[in-house]
């Protein structure tokens, strides 16, 4: 599509950005890799006598081979953390995509106060994760004074302590609430680009409302749904604040990223945490490849 000349000019102009990006990503990545092969326990003071390493700008530490990797996987917390992560990501994806589609269809109907309602729907996206998790924890899910407890009592039921008795569903609810606006917004713009004549043609062809949704609207949204799923997955794999302020990783809510946090900061084992980080990268790639296989074919249609 371009001439030889314009291609090389483009390369020249992109070079600084590419360079910056590489440095930006390569430095932390290679540090993580290096630490994951070392014994690094800062609080034990073992770096003091070991001198300075000019490659990593950190104290020279002992190479320990794959010991950290072995320890991280053999820990009894590893596989539960992986499955918790997958359940959290999967749950939030299902909730946000399903409700995102419903909300997008609703918001696309001509109705009174449309602009205002749209802003309301987008609002949760602007609330910081820590704040929203705290609001949910104290305002809605508090077993004594939360709104849900009042609701439960109103219907004569015994209020439950959501964040301990139903910890995973509660966290999925909180995270979904935050990501629903994103999904809705992308799906809404996709729905708005649907040619109205196609729906009218389907109506004349004898397709009732639900079939029009299934055969016309849903395939039209395919690409947007793919994008929502891929982007959200990237961010959801790293969910942290919501777990930190609500359950602190207890009651079966310890995800891989939370486990890494505990290893690095609570047990002050940087090497072990770095190995976990590498596992997280591998998991993210597996999930991404898996998702691309299922939904990615929508992208090149």
């Amino acid at each position: 599509m371009a001439t030889q000349h314009s291609r090389s000019a483009a390369r020249l102009m992109m070079a600084p950005a590419v360079f910056l990006l590489l440095v930006w990503m390569l430095v932390p990545l290679s540090l993580t890799l290096i630490f994951s092969f070392k014994k690094f326990l800062p609080l034990r003071g073992d770096q003091i006598e070991s001198g300075w390493d000019w490659v990593t700008f950190f104290p020279s530490l002992d190479w320990v081979g794959f010991a950290n990797y072995g320890r991280f996987v053999s820990s009894s917390a590893f596989w539960p953390a992986v499955s918790t992560t997958l359940i959290l990501v999967g749950g939030v994806l299902i909730v946000t995509v399903v409700f995102g589609i419903l909300l997008a269809i609703l918001l696309n109907q001509p109705m009174w106060g449309q602009g205002f309602v749209r802003i309301l729907v987008i609002a949760p996206f602007f609330v910081m994760p820590t704040v929203s998790a705290l609001v949910w924890k104290n305002m809605f899910m508090d077993p004594n004074n939360g709104l849900f407890s009042h609701l439960w009592r109103f219907f004569g039921a015994e209020p439950i302590s959501f964040l301990s008795e139903a910890a995973m569903p509660s966290i999925i609810l909180i995270v979904s609430w935050q990501w629903l606006p994103f999904a809705t917004l992308i799906l809404l713009t996709a729905i708005q680009s649907l040619d109205g004549e196609q729906l009218e043609a389907a109506e004349m062809d004898g397709a009732p409302v639900l079939k029009r949704f299934w055969y016309i609207i849903l395939p039209h949204l395919g690409r947007a749904i793919t994008i929502v799923i891929l982007i959200q997955t990237i961010f959801l794999l790293a969910i942290f604040a919501e777990i930190f302020v609500t359950t602190g990783g207890a009651f079966g809510t310890r995800t891989l990223s939370y486990l890494i946090f505990q290893r690095v900061l609570e047990s002050q084992n940087v090497g072990l945490g770095s190995a976990g980080g590498v596992y997280a990268i591998i998991l993210a790639n597996i999930v991404a490849i898996f998702l691309m296989r299922i939904v990615g074919k929508n992208l090149d249609a």
């Binding site: 040619d195 389907a202 062809d205 397709a207 395939p219």
Partner: protein
Amino acid sequence: MGQIQLNQVTKSFGDVQVIPPLDLTIEDGEFCVFVGPSGCGKSTLLRLIAGLEDVSSGHIAINGKDATMTPPAKRGLAMVFQSYALYPHMTVRKNIAFPMKMAGMSEDEQKRRIDAAATALNLTDYLDRKPGQLSGGQRQRVAIGRSIVREPDAFLFDEPLSNLDAALRVGMRLEISELHERLQTTMIYVTHDQVEAMTMADKIVVLRSGYIEQVGSPLDLYHAPRNKFVAGFIGSPKMNLIEGPEAAKHEAHTIGIRPEHIDVSKTEGTWKGVVGVAEHLGSDTFIHVHDTGLADMITVRIIGDIEAKHGDTVYLTPQLDQMHRFDDKGLRIA
């Protein structure tokens, strides 16, 4: 069967009445064309018949039965849209099968009808392609294919050819006419192209801002336009309309004479003028004559070629028996 009757039908969008009370009957098997300038309500009228818009008042009857409140799918009509409205994620085969699938037809019957339609419309080689991989004319044929497999009582076309280039348009025009000859099904066809209207229609309905100006066969409209608007709209090039003393000579407010009904001479004639632009088409020549003192410009059509260039003086003689006379309200004087 496919008789459609509109009875005092009106349509308003908010306060704006787009279709004032309107009566119209389209007979079974007729090829009926709605023509009119842009924004006159042709599409709206078609969508009212299809059921895609609700009438504001009045009644629509299909095959003698009241269908005013019948949903579009139950009216037994098929529509071909200007944008074709094909389903982009389905193959041509699935597009054509869609209405049959919705009707719950058996797979065998679906396949039989798809093959028949594909053969009739030259689509056999494209059945497994997606609409995005087809040319405009092929897409148009798929849209027609999707509508014929249902064997509807009537077809509705909304400017189906306006996205095609001129050559393709002529071809598709013939194909649609042939389809009508073969199926003998009622067709309602919206266009703003009066050539399409003249060549395809059994009956033309000329609309202006929602009002029906005249209903009739193409030749009725050509030979006896009911008013100045129809006179100017039907026929190409346009009829010359002349007011003032020249019209008074014929006891009319306005006289109209079609370009093909004026004789040209270099030496003598009723009106004298100067040639402006001469358009040589080979088979015909259109000459635009200025400075006649009658109207800004008089257009003349001559069969064959004629020596005429910019600045030549010519004499024009109207064929008096082909002259149309209109009164001061623009209505035809018999």
